[in-house]
């Protein structure tokens, strides 16, 4: 995966998101405090918001190019998105949620990513007929991951997917994300303000502050053990 974000600019209420980066890691972390523009960056990449300037290219596909007025609609980008609140469709059961993308469009679906394989990897096979309102927090997140993976995305955007879970549950869900990465080979952009999650999952990290990428590096370069096993950002 090669994601090129060139001279991207999106005005927000308090500042402008301005990012210029080329990403290629299996899981890239986007780290920053709340309100630093992390979610806006994911929304722009997913095609849910239109940038004022700049260019985004995923592998050979131009997703948006403000100078040429090009903007590929979200439904044609093949970019999965799991928001913080999981957004499972409450009127559909688990199986219907998982199969939503298959009903929408079968084009571009990778044959090796099957329903059976995904529910097995995420350990959600027994939930298929359940209503989403009856699921626990960890189950909801795993169903949300499975739903996104079943669309065979070329890139998966995860927006603080563990923020609503307690520490113990997070530790149980993180291995599923690593297994997803290894089993399906889908590159991910993982947004979080939690250093421990970033270190546990990511190969490469962008640090966002007020919409700007102020630092970039590996987890070892950016984070240090504080009160083991917790990590903090190293001072510049």
């Amino acid at each position: 995966m090669n994601l090129e974000i060139a001279q991207l600019r999106l005005p927000l209420s308090a500042f402008a998101l301005e990012v210029d980066a080329r990403l290629g890691a299996r899981i890239t972390g986007v780290f920053g405090a709340s309100g630093s523009g992390k979610t806006s960056l994911l929304e722009v990449i997913a095609g849910l918001r239109r940038p004022a300037a700049g260019r985004i290219v995923l592998d050979d596909a131009v997703l948006s190019d403000a100078t040429r007025g090009a903007f590929l609609a979200a439904e044609r980008r093949q970019i999965g998105y799991v928001p913080q609140d999981d957004a499972l469709f409450p009127h559909l059961n688990v199986r219907q949620n998982l199969c939503y993308s298959h009903l929408a469009d079968k084009k571009g679906h990778r044959p090796e990513i099957t329903y059976e394989h995904v529910v097995h990897v995420l350990d959600i096979a027994g939930l298929s007929e359940r209503r989403v309102a009856s699921l626990s927090g960890g189950e909801r997140q795993r169903v949300a991951f499975g739903r996104a993976v079943l669309a065979s995305p070329r890139l998966l955007l995860l927006d603080e997917p563990l923020a609503g879970l307690d520490a113990e549950l997070k530790q149980r869900v993180i291995p599923y994300l690593l297994t997803m990465r290894d089993e399906f080979g889908i590159p991910m952009l993982y947004v979080s303000h939690n250093a421990d999650e970033i270190v546990a999952l990511c190969d490469d990290v962008l640090l966002l502050e007020r919409g700007r990428c102020v630092r970039r590096g590996t987890c070892a370069e950016l984070f240090a053990v504080s009160d083991a096993p917790h990590y903090v950002l190293k001072p510049t």
Binding site: P83, F89, A104, R131, R147, A151
Partner: protein, 223 residues
């Protein structure tokens, strides 16, 4: 002049249903545009749509009479192109009830659609669903209770329509006589007993429709 109470009740119910059906698609579409999109002239459209709620119904009826009369812009078109008269027919009753119910339907549709978190629609789009598919599979089912309640409310409003209807359709027994027009007519003739009978039917229909609307709005979705 004798009035067949059940014929009047039946006519009122079906013409109110037809009027509601007539505005259902445009009402939901306009509610969606108001709930989800920002566009120039939005406030003007909102104001114009709400006008029948606050204008005297007879004034709305007069406008309809001028528009759909034989010399009116729309009346001439209907007569020359489709070969049908509008005013003083059941069609005029249907149009009057539709126009008077339209603001209620649009407002409830807008509220119901605004109640659907756009995040669900955004996620559906990232799963490959285009705008129409998102609307039919996510927005509409999630707003369904509110939309059905709004439709029932619009139907209830149509059942009781009087002012605009009397202007554009008049009171013609067997042709344009609705429950409210007939009650007024019977009271004018001091035939209160028969008016009470129609009143009972009218209250029953309106109560049933409003009760259904309330039940739909309050009911929690299944877990």
């Amino acid at each position: 002049m004798s009035i067949d109470s059940w014929q009047v009740a039946w006519f009122t119910a079906w013409v109110a249903a037809a009027g509601t059906l007539l505005i259902l698609a445009p009402g939901v579409a306009l509610g969606w545009l108001l709930a989800r999109k920002e566009w120039r002239g939005k406030i003007l459209v909102e104001t114009v749509v709400a006008l029948p709620l606050v204008m005297p119904p007879v004034a709305t009826g007069l406008i309809l009479l001028k528009l759909f009369g034989r010399r009116g812009v729309l009346g001439r078109w209907f007569e020359s192109v489709l070969g049908v008269d509008i005013v003083f027919t059941w069609r005029a009753v249907m149009i009057a009830t539709a126009v008077m119910s339209f603001p209620l339907l649009v407002r409830t549709a807008r509220l119901a659609l605004e109640g659907v978190n756009p995040r669900y629609e955004q996620v559906a789009r990232t799963l490959g669903a285009g705008p129409w598919r998102v609307f039919w599979t996510i927005t509409l089912p999630m707003a369904a209770r509110g939309l059905v309640a709004g439709t029932v409310l619009a139907f209830a409003r149509a059942l009781g329509e009087f002012g605009a209807t009397i202007m554009v359709a008049g009171f013609i027994p067997g042709r344009t006589a609705t429950l409210s027009l007939s009650i007024y007519h019977l009271v004018q003739l001091n035939r209160d007993n028969q008016a009470w009978g129609l009143l009972a039917i009218s209250v029953t229909l309106a109560f049933g429709a409003l009760w259904l609307s309330e039940v739909l709005l309050r009911r929690k979705p299944a877990p």
